[in-house]
Point group: C2
Chain length 645, copies 2
């Protein structure tokens, strides 16, 4: 229906400000007007008249301005209905009938159907083949950082779109729509004249530089093909870790838009079923209890979003009893939620949740998840006794830790010296450890930078031990430190006090470090270095770094070759990857927190708007920006969409 209070309006937006609180149409209403209303211009008040004039001008401009924009859009729109016709399309026969090869004798996609579509594509046809596996933060920022003519780019991804993951919790309750979070990979790749293969990477033949991709045919049967590469970037992300808990198949996760859609459906379902006359009280309480396992940003934000949904929408359109019986529970294994953030922030978030009646269960361990309940244990602080608890529920979100996806596991199993359990080990240049130099890179959640120094002991000594006496004196130690800092920037912070370290580990204080002493030193420093977190920020920075490096390698290729430098010339064109932490932020329900390293900032609406604007600016395309803005405005004006869809 058209709300009465709008029927009168020509342009909805212009009226928002002037609607009355009593409007019953689910239209969020405002008691005061945003535009200054003119005071009664009595003959004695010149100011009154002036103000009136200004207001009139403002309104006039508003209308004029809008009409100009709308007009512009229309005129532009007219030109977008093309009638172009395609006659003949040049296609290499090899693309239509690919040759077979490789150890499994599969079709080898050495030429693609689109390779000769236009001049730009023909131009990159014979460039080195850059194959990027994955379509997330890492992959996209690589694509965005290389230049159009550098490589023949092929992206292999089971999804045809990239997702703005940080806003998935918002999408999970309909604050924003999932469409606003996704951008078609084909549109992103178009800039570098790349192509998309919609499939799942399953295996790797490093000797022949072939990536095995599983595609699904129209009949649903899987068909594997080889995609040849000169440079391969692995950016396939990760899967949630189970921590050996049973019954996780009854849990939701929040890693994809599919997850967000499923959660949204379940949440609305719970409220709809809870409002049925056929639902018993006990059932209703269960339907309205939402359990979130994991007190990290994802868990906390989802809890906050569910609370918002109840507070701002459910309360208006469902029986009030439902709102009253809603219970939200956050189960956290550590002592505080948001424990990776500053203490002040955890406290602030915990305080807010307590005020809102969101139950925080800390230092708890989930034992089992059943279709209708979550079973967990807590420790009694003083006695240390373990107590088991049960929460009946119809919604469990599992958001704790990450682990390898099958392809990552396969790759690391192919390489002898890959020992890490949760990711592929790479060096500071993001090259996969043990793979042919300069062929394969890994970034994002699926990769971790090797921090062991002791394994490089001999090389380091080799280089630093100038007088070849098998020992390292202080001058040599300084050289070594320089070298370490250069190859592994993450170690720098732990190597600041050069002298102190030297004396500390020079046990026999002969002002020399023997190999043994050195080994201990390097071992312990290595242990001190903490791995980079599995965040979008890290993935994006690594992607940007790698994309830039790949561009340099492409640009300087001939120079390098003419100087007879090795194919792997990473060191020659750029230094190792150096992560700069820009801070972490989290939404906690009409409030937000920012941890910017030294200082941290937290607050209500203002902080929330800041949080939004940061994510808004980080969007992958102007299109998603427009969509996000629309979503936020719509939520403000008409509330969230409550239809189960």
């Amino acid at each position: 229906m058209i709300p009465r209070c709008i029927q009168r309006s020509s342009i909805a937006l212009q009226q928002i400000g002037t609607r009355s609180r009593s409007c019953p149409h689910g239209l969020r209403c405002l008691s005061t007007s945003p535009t200054p209303t003119p005071p009664d211009p009595s003959p004695f008040s010149r100011y009154g008249r002036k103000a009136a004039k200004y207001t009139a001008f403002t309104c006039f401009s508003a209308v004029l301005g809008l009409s100009v924009v709308v007009g512009g859009v229309f005129i532009h729109d007219v030109f977008t209905y093309s009638d172009k016709h395609i006659d003949r399309v040049p296609v290499s026969p090899l693309a239509l009938h690919p040759e077979r090869g490789g150890p499994k004798n599969l079709p080898v996609a050495s030429v693609l159907v689109g390779d000769e579509d236009d001049a730009a594509l023909v131009a990159v046809k014979d460039k080195p083949r850059l194959v990027i596996v994955g379509g997330g933060w890492g992959a996209v920022s690589v694509v965005n950082s290389i230049h159009p003519s550098d490589y023949h780019v092929t992206v292999v991804s089971p999804d045809t779109f990239t997702t703005f993951t940080p806003l998935l919790p918002s999408a999970a309750v309909g604050t924003v729509t999932v469409r606003s979070l996704v951008e078609s990979l084909r549109k992103i790749i178009a800039r570098v004249h790349g192509q998309l293969i919609n499939g799942r990477a399953v295996d790797l033949v490093m000797s022949e530089r072939l990536l095995e991709v599983e595609t699904v045919s129209v009949d649903g049967e899987t068909r594997n093909i080889y995609v040849p590469y000169d440079k391969l970037v692995i950016a396939v992300g990760s899967v949630s870790s189970t921590h050996g808990v049973t019954g996780l198949e009854h849990c939701f996760q929040l890693k994809t838009v599919g997850d967000a859609q499923a959660i949204r459906r379940r949440v609305i379902d719970n409220f709809e079923i809870a409002s049925l006359p056929s639902t018993s009280e006990e059932e209703r309480k269960r339907l309205l209890s939402f359990v979130i396992c994991g007190g990290g940003p994802t868990g906390v934000e989802t809890a906050a979003e569910i609370y918002d949904l109840c507070q701002e929408d459910i309360i208006n359109y469902f029986p009030k009893l439902l709102r009253k019986e809603v219970s939200i529970h956050v189960i956290q294994s550590r002592e505080h939620i948001l424990n990776t953030y500053s203490e002040a922030i955890s406290k602030f978030a915990e305080e807010k949740f307590r005020r809102e009646g969101v139950e925080l269960i800390t230092t708890a361990r989930v034992g089992e998840v059943r279709p209708d309940r979550v079973i967990f244990t807590t420790k009694v602080p003083d006695t240390g006794k373990i107590v088991e608890h049960t929460i009946p529920t119809n919604f469990v979100l599992w958001s704790t830790g990450i682990s390898m996806n099958p392809f990552t596991a396969r790759v690391s199993s192919l390489l002898p010296n890959q020992v890490h359990k949760k990711a592929i080990e790479v060096d500071a240049h993001l090259r996969v450890k043990g793979a042919p130099q300069g062929d394969i890179y890994a970034i994002g959640d699926c990769a971790t930078i090797e921090t062991s120094l002791v394994s490089h002991l001999l090389e380091l000594v080799e280089e630093a031990d100038r007088n070849k006496d098998g020992n390292i004196d202080f001058d040599e130690w300084q050289i070594m430190v320089k070298r370490i800092k250069k190859t592994l920037p993450m170690a720098a912070t732990h190597l600041e006090k050069v002298r102190t370290l030297f004396d500390l580990y020079d046990s026999d204080s002969d002002n020399k470090l023997t190999l043994n002493e050195l080994a201990v030193l390097l071992q312990e420093i290595g242990n001190k270095i903490t791995a980079l977190p599995a965040t979008a920020q890290v993935a994006a920075q690594q992607g940007k770094y790698l994309g830039h490096k790949l561009h340099l390698l492409a640009a300087k290729r001939n120079t390098l070759l003419s100087n007879e430098l090795p194919a792997d010339a990473d060191e020659a064109v750029t230094g190792p990857f150096n992560y700069r932490h820009l801070g972490s932020l989290a939404y906690i329900g009409n409030a937000a927190v920012f941890d910017l390293g030294r200082l941290s900032f937290m607050g209500g609406l203002v902080a929330m708007y800041a949080w939004r604007s940061i994510y808004w600016s980080e969007q992958v395309s102007m299109r998603t920006r427009a969509l996000l803005m629309t979503d936020w405005v719509l939520r403000g004006v008409w509330g969230r969409d409550l239809s189960r869809l």
Copy 2:
């Protein structure tokens, strides 16, 4: 990624006009500027300076105007983050533990959980119970036409939202998003303080005025309840008819947003799989052939939308070969597509499709649909010989005719004198034929107005035969005609020539019509009356008529009862339903056609914009208007969303 050409822009919309055609970022571009650009203001040209001034002013106003609007939205937004708290909620124990009753001894939802939530709800608590079954055009327009305090309104619907069905073909290819077509039923019902029961009506106990509703519990098991009613409105729509064709399970339909989503996924799938190196040429051709069975508006619009998708998006982001190999086929049983429209329109549409290479197969009969092909027969014009054809395809849309859904069938089986095969027969007051007077109404696709006059022969004679001679003379005939026109407006057009009719059927020309002569006359006129089409327009008009009548009945209730008028006083408050056809329109791909009865209008973009603006104005809420507008603008600026989602 942020397209270069936008990175520089502050407000995307303002820049649209000034972008260059060569922009490669999937950004639809425009070579000319919508705002008049100032000519070089040389010292000699006063006009130049003037123009410059005006342009500056316009731009300034545009910016100012936008900022005012944005500011307004922001200020309004701030007030939408409520922090209200709920303490105690009054709920009748009967709502929590409903009594059992009825023939099947099921729980009877005589009181609902939300019945005492606020003053407005308490006010309608004891009003007559109006139960509306369905959530489509008919149901919604009933809700929108009654007054908030008339009835205790309960809507029973398996979906929690209403759908703007006419734009489903657009949603099926992503020209608009499905979210823009749906509005939450709860929000629509809120105006009349009604409540939603999310379930499926399955049976009816007219004697006890109980509607049996099937609800689904949290464990997925079905639980039936009785919903008591004083007045029942059946508006459950229809299902597609099979016409006895086998293999329709391999076809798509286009009646719900679910259908639209499924179609969109399949279409994108087809293109993604077709672009895989592992797909053979034959498979590709099959994947890219789209078959639409049914040349009505839905079929034609879907064909047109698929063509648009290929022309405006696929061509830019998929290998060109795919666009070249796309084939669209429309199979129509009649001689022309859009055969319910004027001849000029069918011709226009057919011409357009021919130009665009969309294959039209007319006077064809689909025999069977297999997972990988459609088999149909055509008749050779001169010889009349039947020829069988096969089209390999991976997409078949079935959009031909309607038939009863299970509940409709059940209702009509409960009533003795319901003979119609495809819908429930109602009288001209939309009362279900044979049901207790004034209890049950049926509207929309699931209802058809009874057009048989002969069945009322005796009543008519009874009333008209003043001299009680068992015959009808001309004066009496005129009375009868008046009466018929009053009770069945649809018959009016066939009763204009009163005298001619009388003489024609007065076979023995004794200037009297015997009962037999009259029977023949009424029989033949009855046959001439064509039933109303199963369109949104009819459903909406019937809903509006019924809602208005129900309001009058509620308003005049006491007056009626005091005058000892029967509970069923429909005739007392309003005349029969009289359908006014406002014309039909259809989108045929960057062009549209309008059949306004006498005159018909067809054309390109201008017509398309007209088509859009009509549907835009028909939207159920301002929210969906805003969303639709956004969709159309976004399509214009960035094209359709190509991500499979």
